[in-house]
Every structure is written in structure tokens, then in C-alpha cells.
Amino acid sequence: MKTIAISGKGGTGKSTIAALIIRWLKDQELGPILAVDADPNVNLNDLLGIRIEETVGAIREEMKRSAHKLPGGMTKQEFLEYKIHASLRETRDFDLIAMGRPEGPGCYCYANNLLRDILKTLSDNYKCVVIDNEAGMEHLSRRTTQRIDDLLLVSDPSARGVHAAARISKLLTELDTRVGKKHLILNRVKKDIPDILEKCIEKHGLDLFSFIPEDDTLLRMDQSGKPIWKISEDSSAYQAIHQMMGELMKKGKNDI
């Protein structure tokens, strides 16, 4: 199983990149794919062109709220597992689970502990898991996410974006999360990457893995609200993803 997480500060287009990666994995027949929307704003489903009925966060709240009146004879573990499986959105090419809102006040140790086990068992059913992460990395830091093979840090071609990516990278190191490799992806690159930006990347010790050019097709799809999922293979953004993912999957294979 390959687990790829995409993270970055808001507005850098990480959900778009997540959607493109899922589409690429499908095109390469590397499924079944589990898409995990771990951004509380929940929009990956729009990009993929499907609707979300229920989020894990909402289920968790429901369980906590009605802890005394769960269906008779059912443990919370069983209840949560049932509800999470029922919340999964299924399509021919991928299944989608949305994490939803982060937790409110109160003690979540128990719920998160259950959740981690359930999500782990669920994701074992897939060849690829793609996680669209929020910048705060709640699910990583709370360890509700299992091991990640590749973390893609998405940034726009700006120093501020790169700083933010470096911060996330550092945060993860401090949190001692289980992340295999970290790669920097620059999104919406107009022409070349200016020297000064390259220096900035170097300074932060990041590995500039790939960049995605600004793509008019993508922009138009976004403006008209069309799901990115349907993007043409000829578009420059898709081509860039094709190249990047080819590299990423190859790297994974030869790792010792």
C-alpha cells in the first residue's frame, strides 16, 4: 500500500493537486484508491465531482453526544465502525472519506483511539491512499492517520508559501510523526522559478521535487465549478502531475 499525503497552507491548490493525483492513479490503474479529505473545509469531493453526506467528525460528535443511548448491545467501537463504513462515498474508481470538523472541547482520547484503528483497517483494503491534509495537520499530530510514505508540501511560487511549507515540515519532525519522504511542490508556476526563490527553498533544506505550471484549463474549470476530476489528459497541469507521479512511484519501488 502506498500512502501519499498532500499538505500546504490554505489557497495553494493542494486539494486540486490531490484530485489530479487521484485521477492519475486511476488512469494508471493503480486502484483501488481511498481518498481521505482531512481538510475541515471539505471540498475534495467537489473537485472529484461527488457529494458528501456525512463526515467522520460528525459521526464522532454523534457518538459522544449519544453515548448513553447507542443501539442496544452495541459497543462504541462497533457503532463507530459501522457508521464510518456507511459514510464512505463509493465510486467506480475510488472511495472517499471526509474527516470533517476538528474536535470540540472535551476529551477525545477514546474516540480518536477507536478512530485510528478503524481507519487503519479500512485503508488496508486499498492499494493507494491519498490524504488531502489541512495545514494544521490535526490528523497527523493526533495520530489518527497511519504511516505516510510521501508527504507533498504544496506551495505557490512565493517566499511566504515556501516558509509555510518549511514550517509544516518542521512541525512534523517535532511531532515525531511517521512520514517517509517529504517533497516540495510548487503550484501555479508561471514561467521559471526565480533564483531567489530557489535559494529560499535551499535555505529551508527542502527538496524541490516538482512544479505544476499555471494551467488555463484548470482555471476555467475552477471558475465554472466543473470537477477537476474530468480534466483532459493533454492539459499542462495533468502532464506535470503525470511526470511527477511517475517519478514518485518509481522512487518508492527502489527504496531499500
Binding site: K76, Y110, T121
Partner: protein, 734 residues
Amino acid sequence: MSKLIATKAIRGAHTLVKRAEEELRLAIQQKGPATKVEFPNTGYYLPVSHGILGLHIQNLEGLQALLDEAKKLLPPMPSDKLWVPYLGNTLDAGMATLFADEIIEAIKYTQDPLPYLLKANPDEEHLWIGAAGDIIMRERGIEFVDGTAPGFAACVGYCPTNEIAVKIARELQEKNLYVFMSAATDGKSMAQQLREEGIQMGWDTRLVPFGNDVTATVHSIGFATRVALSFGGAQPGDYQRVLRYNKNRVFAFVLALGPVDDEKHAQAAGAINYGFPTIADTDIDQILPSGICTYEHVVSPVPHEKIVSKAIEVRGLKINITKVPIPVPYGPAFQGERIRKEDMHVELAGQLQPGFEFLTTKDMDEVEDGKIDVIGPEIKDVEEDTQIPLGIWVEVAGREMQPDFEPILERQIHDFINCANGVFHMGQRDINWARISKEARAKGFTFHHFGTIVHAKIHGEFGKIADKVQVRIYTREKEVVELREVARKIYKQRDARMADMTDEAIDTFYSCTLCQSFAPNHVCIITPERSGLCGAYNWLDGKAAFRINPTGPNQPIKKGKVVDAEKGQWQDVNDFVYNNSHKTLEIFNAYSIIEYPMTSCGCFECISGILPSTNGIMIVYRDYTGMTPSGMKFSTLAGMVGGGVQTPGFIGHSKQYIGSKKFISAEGGVKRIVWMDRVLKEELAPILEEIGKREGMDDFIERIADETIAITEEEVLEYISKKNHPALAMPPLF
């Protein structure tokens, strides 16, 4: 461990690595570095190097990299004078041996004629069949995963007589174990002995002759490696997962028969890396303390009549062959398998169709054992990608069967069905949900088989209480809806019985130490009448969690001798709390707020604290941020009560506990409540009302103050005095 055995293993490894180097040099010289190298019909390259190192060796030149790795691992020979710990070095030597084995075996496949017959079974002329192809590995490997075959015995050397060889082989076969044979000693091997006795060998009979050479032992390890890659989801190169998977899932061991030379010691060291111990019939040095293997690593000398049972014991193997007669593989490995909509043939019950699962007791003459009926359409009658109802009605008869066992057995239906490959199952009672995959359907799985599974497993696991089992599977809406109503009535009765359960009625509580990560000395004791203080765990959850994870944070605690029934103190519970609080808490009272009260982690839903002048207590819920009559806000109180220390006069607890008859019953219970925050008071109004009525007060809630009435202790006292609160007339708190 002894230096002697380490020395032998390391010396053996040196010999084999040297031999590999020599043979590789010769082969490259004669055939050229680009000569293709492979074990035939496998996608896993040379499996040990592929699984452990992630190498993709395809030609002689590629073997050089493997040789380099082997050399890197090879530890120096132990010196005569120096004594150091040897297990690490021995393990490295073992791994180097496996790499050397694989080089030597791979070169064999470049020879003409091939030394191995590339078939599943030996023929008249050829005894040795070499590495298994992937088809065999998948077909047979799945038996390891689903439990049909618990593991394999890698037999090296030969037995003193042919008769003993046959006896050992038969005994292993009876236990459903595979027998992998290799490594002749002085030209004699177990496989040849079996052949001389006319025993049928090959994958079909589970007696597999790999090769005459000691290096052919690597085909056993290679097989195990491929099982981890193929069924265990381990990635090539993720050696930790490959090894751990084998230790936990593949119950294999080495039987060393006859004299054990250095090179066989080296193979044994290789096997230990995988958690496979070695059992020898001759007197060799032992490696007893556990560490890598589940129990001992090398045990000897073991007499032939005991060697199989000893091996099973040392490997920690539980032989439990209750084969479920269904056309798909079956075993715990398939739990948690989700059938994707795309792969599904039919969905039963779930969100769109009605369903239920129900188990009941019948008299002996009312049950015909093994009778399974499907009422409604069978799988052949339903189109692909449809949803249909599902009712599973189980009737059990048995001399030892009691209605109390019904819910326990009924809850097992989920676990039973979930173990079938290609079948997904969730929930229980009237919220059940199942899916059957297209693949399982193609293999011949039918609705009838739900009954087959339940019948076989109840016999297998509850044979002591169930003598006869019959099952009816309903798939038509009319019957499912009708019978669901019948079942629902019984579910209700069972729940009522559960709700009436008291601490006195059972002899086991459950601990919860989930929160020790941040409150290291805190131990929750969960009883039927006192749920965990976070409100998340009740006694049933604790019980279920223990069943799912027997070494987890929820452990059963026998109550033991009653020390004080009123305060809720038991000898064995005291002992458990003492030992698990890192010896900081000696006495524990379950029902008192004043004397040795239960500690808290920090997860409590509510905090109760005494208000001395009122002779009563206040309760504040964690969402309430205002001031309380104790002069502290919830956050301040939490800091004082949490962290695993006993704070007499204060406890953290769940909301649910307030409604329990055991709520601070040592101090008189709910009647002591003089103040609650308003939200909590409203939420618990029905419960408080009921308790008030029981005590002869219709307006008990009225007598309890809240923040809209009083926020200082004086104000509370004034209010409850006016209202004639029962706490005022109770004995002093302390």
C-alpha cells in the same frame, strides 16, 4: 546464550559466504555478468533479497550486490579470549547465510541440466523440486493466512531410521503443517528416506523436497518471505514488516535431524531472524531466553516421539482445525476486509434494506443440528449490484445452554461471518449489514453459507454449551420485517436485564489505563454501576475491548474479598490499583467521595466537590465556564482533581454515574446534591426527578441550586435551607 553456538553459526556463515563468492566468480567468468538469473515463475525475484533488501536481481551481476550485503553483515569470528553478547552477531550471520544461500541457489538455475524439477510434485527420476512458483505460493500461502495450514516445518538432515522419518512426517501432516525438506547430511536426507519408503511427496501431500544442498533451506525462508509480501501487504525492502509478519503469522520452525554442522547452525541463525525456532534431536547448544522468537530459539536434544509436539509448543502454535466448509478461504486475516461497491455482487440489509440477526435457545428435540434453510431468493436469483433484506435466525440447543448466553453468542455472528474472504459484515441485531463480492459469488459462495459459517463456528468455539445449531436465512422483506419485530421485543428485554445489572451480581470489573500516557498513575476501575469517568467506557465496552485486545488498556480485575461493601472496596481491586498506579495508591473506594476516592486522569465529564457548610456536594459539567460555589471554576478544579492523585472531597466522573444507585452511595448518594450547573441539571432532570420520587420528594430538582440561583457557598446554604433540602438532615459528611 553460549559462545560456542554463536561461533558455530558465525563460522558456518563465513564458509557459505565464501562459497557464494567463489561460485559467483566462476559463474560470471564462464557465462558473463549479463546472464539471466531467476527462480522460475515468480514475480518476487530472489525472494529473501527482494523482501528484506528490496533488491530486484535479474542477472549474475546483480548477485554481486547481494554478496556485498552478505559480506557487510558478516560478523567477525568470536575471539578465543573475548566474551561479548552474541545474539546480534548471530542474527547478522544468519541473515548473511540466507543471502549466500540465495546466491548459490540462483546460480544453480543457470546450470544445464537444471538440478531441480520445475513441477509441484517430484517424479520417478527427480526428487528435488526447488523453489515454488508463484501459483503454488498463492494457493498454499493463503492456507497459512486463513489458518487451514498453521505453518511449516523446515526439516534438515536425516532421521536415524526410515521408520522414524515417516512417523515424523505423518505427525506433521496430521497437524496440517507443511513439511519442507532440504540439506542432506553426508548424502542422507529425510526426503530420500521418505522416498525409500514409497511415500508420495510434493505440494499435493504437503511433503515438499526442496533440495539436497544445505543452501536449499533458503527456499523455505523465501516462501515465508513471499507470504509476507503477498498476503501481509509488506513492501519489498520493508524488512521489519516482513520479519514481524512471519513471527506473528507464519508458524514455522526448523527440525534439525541428525548431526548439526556449522552450516546448519548458520541456517538456524537465519531462521531465528524470522522468529522461527530450531528444535534438534541431537545434543547441541541451546539458546533458551526469548527475545526474537516467541519463546526459546534453539532447543535440544528432544526425543523423536516428542519432537513434533515440542516444536509446536516452542513456536507457540495453537492447532485449532475447525474447518468451515465454504468455498472461500476463511480466517481472522480477512476481518476488516471491505468489499467495494465496484466489486460487490449483492448487498444485504444495511442502510437501504431491513435486516436483523437473532439467536435464541430451544429444547433439544426442537433443533435439528446442521439444518440450514434459506427463505426467499438465493444468491443465484439476485442480479448483480442489488440490495436485499437479510434476517439471520439462529436456534441453539444444549444441555449447558442458558438464555444469558444468547446475546454473547449472537454478538459473535459478526465476527464469524466477517472472517470469510469476499464477505463484508458490519453491525448486529437490527442494524446489520453485509456484502458479498463478485469473486466470492463466482467461487460458489451462497446465502446458505451464512448458515454454514454460523453452525460450524458455534460448534467450534462454543461446543461446550451448544450441542445443536440450526439456522434460517431470510431474504424476503415480508418475513424479515415480521421477524425483526419479534426479535426487537427480545432485544428490549435483554437491555432491561443489562440495565439492572449491579456490581454485586458480577465478580469481575475492568480497568482502563488508556489515559496513562498523560496521567501515568491514574487507573480507572469500571464497574457495571460506575462507568469510566470520561463517559466513554462502560463495563460492557471494557469487556468487549478486552476481548478484542487482550493485552490492551482494559484488563479484567477479579473483585476478590470484600473489604467494605458500603464504600466499594475489594482486596484484589486494591492490589490491582496499587500495582498499576506505580505503587502510589494503596486503597481505593469505588463509592466514596471522602475516603480514598477514585483518581482522575483529566478526561472527566463532571467534577463533584463537597460544600462543607451545606453538608452536600456540587456537580459541575466541563462545558460550564462560570464560577462555582466552591470558589473555583471548572478549569481550576480540574487541575486539582486530575493527574492521578486522590483528592478527598472531590471526584471526577461521568454524567451517567450521577444516575447510578452507587453514586457516592457511601455518603448517601444523589440526595447530597445541593448545586449543579443549569445545563447539567436540565439534562439530568428526568433521572433526578425519578430519584426524588423514590425518596418521597416530588420537587427534588427545585431544591437543587444552580448558577442562576446561587454562586457562593453561603448563597447555596441560604437557598437550600429555604427549600428544606434533604442534605441538611443527613449525617455530617465528615
